[in-house]
Subunit: 130 residues, 4 copies
């Protein structure tokens, strides 16, 4: 009988993968390298910011509209997806390290933001209008 | 018969929530405000970096070890969870805008990183040793 | 006889102020608070990134062209100038902590970049063209 | 008679170089490449954040104390100085684009911060104590 190695993420997409599935895949990667010792909140927040900056780099000199075209360009999408994955891995490492529930945190923030930005008042407005 | 409003995230945690569930919750919030027009890759990458910086702020002057204690402090956890949720909302908005599959991107990156950082070679090493 | 307090920067603008003048003003502020202990390279690099993000926030949802108008808006310029000053203070604190010469570092980088981006080849090109 | 080319920064260090000297050196570099068109506040703030993140990368996994040692390591100082120069070049490009006086902005911010953080109250305290 072959047992699936725990560290392998299940080959599923966003419709089937739970957040916990992804969290476990990232945690397994970290534990196989004994990297939990480096995964302090300070280091992980820093790493998240570093990866977010690498993602920004893809759109650094583009106009906002050009960045939409860049996001559709097949020759760029893979690299962009990789940077996004890097951000996500550190985000999941951080919730792993802090033992937070990400889905509940997101849900709670959406409820809070719905109060802060009532749909009727902010429809079509970024909040940065003159 | 009461129908659940589509825009409400299901009240579930990371074990049950799929990535697609969270993506839909964030997309509904954005669409209710007609904010898709602002959600270009350039703006969202910038927003992600801004929120990552706000998260860093919680650990700005702390030693790495102190940041662990801060992460456990009940009076700080809620605020930290909120910043993490902000990062996550922009990350999900970005994969929504780019129509990428986040789970597959993460899985692909873990496979790539497993080649780049073989477990036996990098065990216990951050890669920043002298 | 009144002696000028060393910690006060001279009331001069960019034409007269040397980089060393600004460095000393920032160092005096730090020393009056005994903050040198927090001014490690890791913390200062983090602080620089945090302030850069706060600066970005002023242009977060604007189109690139709108950001030019925002930069000219008298009601916004003071706030923007403050964020820029924050970035500069941490930058100067970092060169103070590392005992580097900022002017020489800038000059050396311009020489290096002039080789990397020959004027004739890169004229009018951001390097992010398709 | 040989005239010094205006675009060359004077070979002086922080004690002699004025902020305006550095601003002109950076502006000349930009103008020789006709890059003023890309130097909008939004793009420059983004670039500043990107370079700040590259600077952070040098200290990403280090303890705060280790980052001090790294800053003294001769084999690392040149690279760190380069990242600092990159941050400085974008900072100066931004004040050039916005036509702000950096020295005055820094001086004004130090005065404001001196009120916000009275020396007697904040001596030896980062403001992030428990």
């Amino acid at each position: 009988m072959v047992r699936r190695k725990k560290s392998l993420p299940r080959p599923v997409g966003d419709e089937a993968a739970t957040v916990a599935d992804l969290r476990r895949a990232v945690q397994a990667f970290v534990d196989e390298r004994d990297w939990r010792q480096f995964h302090t909140p300070k280091n992980l927040a820093m790493s998240l910011a570093i990866e977010a900056a690498e993602l920004m780099e893809h759109f650094q000199w583009l106009d906002v509209a050009e960045s939409v075209a860049r996001g559709r360009d097949p020759s760029c999408r893979d690299q962009i997806a990789e940077e996004i994955a890097d951000v996500c891995c550190y985000l999941l490492s951080l919730v792993n390290a802090l033992e937070l529930d990400l889905s509940q945190a997101v849900r709670a923030k959406l409820v809070k933001n719905a109060c802060k930005y009532p749909a009727d008042e902010f429809r079509g407005k970024s909040g940065q209008e003159e």
